[in-house]
Amino acid sequence: MSVTSDVDLSPIALLEAIRHQGKEWDVLAPRYGVTNPDPPWKFPLIGTFESLAASGSLPALERRGAEDELGNSVYSEVPAPERDLLALAHTMLTRGLLTEEELVRRMRAVRSRLEAA
């Protein structure tokens, strides 16, 4: 019933590396005694979904179709908020909206900034 997307389901090295670290919220939160059921980035992620749809850059139906297919295959072992995030990154990379190289670079820069704060 879901929309068939043409998203390439081949694993992407950067995203595989992230998901193999096992740092999902439902692992981290109990480790630190945090009771909030959602990671803090869940709402900005939803903000990104809406903004991409509103601008026409990535319509919701298309994104959700890809998310369904990726969630039933490459990311089927990943819990929900992380799965949606990986599916978004995967979809944007395969559509050429972002490149893996720039994402790797930007992640490094973001991490340095967050760790310095």
């Binding site: 019933m1 509103a54 601008s55 026409g56 319509p59 139906l61």
Partner: protein, 104 residues
Amino acid sequence: MAKIKADKPNNKPRFKVGDRVRLKDMPNMFYTRTQNYVRGAIGTIAACTYQDLIPEDEAFNYDGRIEQFYIVRFRQKDLWEDYPVENDTLQTETPEHWLESAGK
């Protein structure tokens, strides 16, 4: 934020609540929100909802066709082979061009 603003609608709805209609089985050229499982089925108009751009045009951000949208009610027994319960129904929403009259 870009938004396609529909012109003031002035289409007379073709169907009214209670009319028997068939959901046409048309080929999907492009983008559609009509599910496979209702194609070819006969139901009744449950409500007239609003007039708006049809999804087939809106997805491409043109000034497209504005149509009346309807909620159509189907008997589950008419949608699925071997559906076991007589009274159960399903409703879904569709723009007018997917519908044709199915008589009395």
